[in-house]
């Protein structure tokens, strides 16, 4: 049974890696958010695998998955709110042009 | 075995619905017409527009069809006649039908045409309006059944159908289902008079045939869902259970079809406003009322 757990964990790790690459390399706010979504997806896979194979009797694991899903939704809502405000003000959500946000 | 039977029932209902649709629009009852026009679609040239997003263009009609069939997979025709009696059936049908939006966005973006694209994105706005009105009435239904299993939901309506128990939920779900199936008066993404066919506009030949089949299947799936959630599914005297399911499903599908004939297309802004200022409060009220009833009435 450890095999399935390892497969799931490796998948989660690779999704996490792709997400990190995306969040760091993309210049557009929306694309960066996609990277973050992938990072969270990697986390979700791990959480479900841990719940299923290590602690199926405790439903806090599933609860945590729900919380992470909420975080994904919140991230989207706030991200797009900021993106619209930024786009309205500057006409772009490119990171390269957001130097004016530096303190 | 169940799979084949349900699929055949679905196809049969689609055929009947197409016949009725032809009857209401042309005034002639021609049982062979759907088959003939299906064959005609096969024979016609299927044109691909210039510089399309080929992957989306090809996938969209098929995805719409698959989604409609997947939705029907969890809906029982009779106590044991269901493809997959999932423990989360009532949630699963929501999940499957959420991909209608994805298919329409693909169909809108794929052909690289203005009408289609506006149609596709319009449906996204439409989803914002109707999505809550699909989920919240189903919540109230699941509350009464104390289960998400579709067969248990039908079982819970033995004696008193949900249409009587929670009429408000039925009305909201019926309207939202029509919006989800983008039938008139909610046909904003296709809107022949406004967008010249919208997401349908660039499809021809076989692809259009699949798209039409998918749209009719979607109507049947939603009618079947209405039957299962509100009209007591297979319950009914004399006739065998599957017959009752089919009769009710077809009745709901035809009424969806007819309602659109007698109404002008709704304005998108109105749809949004009514759904959020009226629909969602009513859906919440429905949940509260059902909750009280479940607690008070044994």
């Amino acid at each position: 049974m450890t095999l399935v757990l390892i497969v799931a964990l490796v998948t989660g790790a690779i999704l996490f890696g792709i997400g990190v690459y995306g969040a760091l390399s993309q210049t557009n706010l929306v694309m960066i958010m996609m990277g973050v979504e992938l990072i969270l997806a990697g986390a979700l896979v791990n959480l479900v695998a841990f719940w299923r194979f290590l602690h199926p009797e405790s439903y806090s694991g599933q609860m945590f998955v729900l919380v992470v899903m909420t975080v994904m939704a919140v991230e989207m809502a706030v991200g797009f709110g900021v993106a619209i405000a930024r786009f309205r003000a500057k006409g772009s959500v490119e990171m390269e042009e957001a130097g004016d946000l530096k303190g | 075995m169940n799979f084949v039977i349900v699929l055949l029932a679905l196809l049969g209902s689609v055929w009947l619905l197409a016949v009725v649709e032809g009857w209401t629009t042309t005034g002639r009852l021609r049982p062979a017409a759907p088959l003939l026009s299906g064959l005609a679609h096969l024979g016609r040239e299927s044109i691909v527009p210039r510089t399309p997003d080929r992957v989306f263009f090809e996938t969209a009609p098929v995805l719409l069809l698959i989604v409609a069939v997947l939705g029907a997979a969890v809906l029982p025709l009779a106590p044991t006649l269901v493809i997959a009696d999932l423990a989360t059936g009532a949630l699963f049908i929501n999940a499957a039908l959420a991909y209608v939006l994805v298919a329409l966005i693909m169909a809108g973006w794929g052909p690289n045409g203005a009408y289609a694209m506006i149609g596709g994105w319009r449906f996204l706005g439409q989803l914002i309006a109707y999505a809550m009105l699909i989920v919240m009435p189903i919540t109230a239904v699941a509350m009464r059944a104390e289960s998400l299993v579709t067969t248990v939901i039908v079982g819970s309506q033995d004696g008193l159908w949900n249409i009587v128990y929670q009429p408000l939920g039925f009305v909201l779900f019926f309207i939202a289902a029509m919006a989800l199936a983008f039938r008139a008066p909610f046909d904003l993404p296709t809107a022949p008079g406004e967008l010249g066919g919208g997401v349908d506009a660039e499809y021809t030949g076989v692809r259009l045939g699949v798209l039409r089949l998918a749209r009719l299947t979607l109507v049947i799936t939603l009618a079947s869902a209405t039957t299962v959630f509100y009209l007591g599914g297979w319950h009914g005297p004399l006739l065998p259970p599957w017959a009752w399911s089919l009769i009710k499903t077809l009745a709901v599908a035809v009424s969806m079809l007819l309602a659109g004939r007698y109404l002008p297309r709704i304005r998108e802004a109105d749809l949004m406003r009514w759904c959020w200022t009226l629909g969602i409060p009513l859906a919440l009220l429905n949940i509260i009322v059902v909750g009280l009833l479940v607690l008070v009435v044994p």
Binding site: A8, G17, L24, M31, L38, R52, L54, G81, E96 | L86
Partner: protein, 178 residues
């Protein structure tokens, strides 16, 4: 067990494959929908791991979420159709390094750690749904409610940020242009 490993692996590969496509394609709608299918594949992995409720929930939520992502992509990207072949990346080498290191470390930990005894049997789906409901409205109620309030706050905050600011300067500016 092997069947389960097979399905988890297949859906995992699909999730990774679509995840790669997200950053490889230059068409923004494709990118958003690739992310959607990656998330759907993750949902299918949940199903393969016998976590039915969460799997279906993941599949349902992501359809809407990523479609909305798609429309914002089209709005905010300079070249949404990807016809111009614009390069939208920076610090590429560093990012690849960071991604590989992050994934590598996690994989190494996955192999090295002692996960202890692994349960073979999962509770059946109906039981799970029921138990999760009990958990939500029992011990974890506060967390659940907090999550709900958080979403509500985020909705209000996001809307407030997105609505154009009506300052006097703004209005004067508008009148100037008209």
């Amino acid at each position: 067990m092997y069947a389960q490993a097979f399905f988890v692996a297949v859906f995992g590969l699909a999730a990774i494959g679509f995840g790669v496509v997200v950053f490889r394609t230059s068409s923004m709608v494709r990118s958003a929908l690739a992310l959607l299918f990656s998330q759907t594949a993750v949902g299918c992995m949940f199903l393969a791991m016998q976590t039915e409720f969460l799997g279906v929930l993941q599949i349902m939520m992501m359809a809407t979420e990523m479609s909305i992502m798609a429309i914002f992509m089209v709005m905010f990207m300079m070249d949404p159709g990807g016809m111009g072949g614009m390069d939208m990346t920076h610090q590429k080498r560093f990012s690849i390094g960071a991604g590989v290191v992050a994934a590598g470390v996690a994989i190494v930990v996955a192999f090295w750690a002692d996960w202890g005894p692994v349960t073979a049997e999962a509770p059946d789906a109906a039981m799970q749904t029921r138990a999760l409901g009990m958990e939500l409205l029992g011990r974890s109620m506060l967390i659940f409610e907090t999550a709900g309030i958080t979403i509500l706050t985020a909705m209000i905050a996001a809307t407030a940020v997105a609505i154009p600011v009506q300052t006097t300067a703004n209005i004067a500016d508008k009148e100037d242009t008209e």
